[in-house]
Amino acid sequence: MAKSNDLARIITGCKSGDAESFSEVVDIYASRFYGYFYRLTGNRETSDDLLSELFVKLVEKIGSFKGGSFESWLFKMASNIFYDYLRNKQRQKKSFEVQKSQFESEVTEAEEQSGSERIDELQTQLGRLDTDTRELIMLRFYSQASFKEIAAMRSEPIGTTLSKLHRGLKKLQKLME
């Protein structure tokens, strides 16, 4: 993880349109965001697309970053990209149920492709959680943000965030047993 001084320098470089600084951001965050998208979609190809979209959006929106936690800001953007992706899928399929089965089929597809049972197992069980809880668990895990920051990102009270995460992880734990 980049030190705060380095990160500040990199962000300044990004704001001035320096391609090298953006490259550094990609090197620092690509793995974490890829994991986040992969755990949410269960599909490598979709994760590739969403990751590319995130960094292209970063170039467009970097001017609107006014300080605070850069990671929280990036994760908020990633979260929006994921929900936009879901909405587009829903529009295509016209119903949430069809979308859900589509997601599950993607999970199965990923299962067949990966060949790793441990990853598949987690991915399969994550697919059984509702989208909001799954997104919250992944946001917390990959962003390493505090509950206060996560609650702010999701525009909900901290008590709601704590309770949802607790219930979600408890359920996941049971599913994984």
Binding site: S23, Y142, S146, Q173
Partner: protein, 177 residues
């Protein structure tokens, strides 16, 4: 990666704001178990090819952004220049309207422009002197005729008429320049 490694949040304190001590302890335990499950299942990493393609996309996006910025500067400059030209044109029009014509004496209508606008003062003075001399000559002729009026005949009356005609002609010639 840990669920709360960076945040230094005290989960137990947080949960104790909403739950009793026992429940808070249980919640923290559930979250820690969930955290272990997630840590035990590593998500795939993005391909090197994907990272290269994202960096290339960022470079292209930056180039587009710079081109657009340059275009915006050109358009703004053109708009400002057009504004200045328009203002200058309006200013010139207003200045021309505001500039009053020099006042001319009431006699302007009967005195030829050439006389008023002439810079040949010496010539004009000479012409005036000639006119005055001719007028004086005619006046003295008229006086002489008036003096011989009592003993005069029809021939004299004709001469007087001729003199008046001559005076009008001279006068007219003078004003014609």
């Amino acid at each position: 990666m840990t669920m709360n490694g960076e945040t230094e949040e005290n989960l137990r304190d947080l949960f104790e704001k909403f739950l009793n001590s026992e429940q808070a302890e249980q919640a923290v335990e559930d979250i820690q178990k969930g955290e272990r499950i997630l840590r035990g299942h590593t998500a795939p990493k993005p391909d090197g090819e994907l990272i290269t393609s994202i960096k290339a996309e960022i470079a292209a996006s930056l180039l587009r952004k710079k081109e657009n910025a340059f275009r915006r500067i050109v358009y703004k400059t053109m708009a400002v220049a057009a504004g200045f030209i328009l203002l200058a044109a309006i200013g010139v029009k207003l200045f021309e309207k505001g500039r009053s014509e020099p006042e001319r004496p009431a006699s302007d209508s009967i005195i030829p422009k050439a006389v008023w606008e002439s810079n040949r003062l010496a010539d004009d003075n000479a012409e005036s002197a000639t006119l005055i001399a001719e007028v004086e000559q005619i006046e003295s002729d008229l006086l002489a005729m008036q003096l011989g009026e009592n003993g005069g005949n029809g021939h004299e009356a004709i001469t007087e008429l001729e003199m008046e005609t001559e005076l009008i002609e001279i006068n007219s010639d003078f004003w014609k320049g």
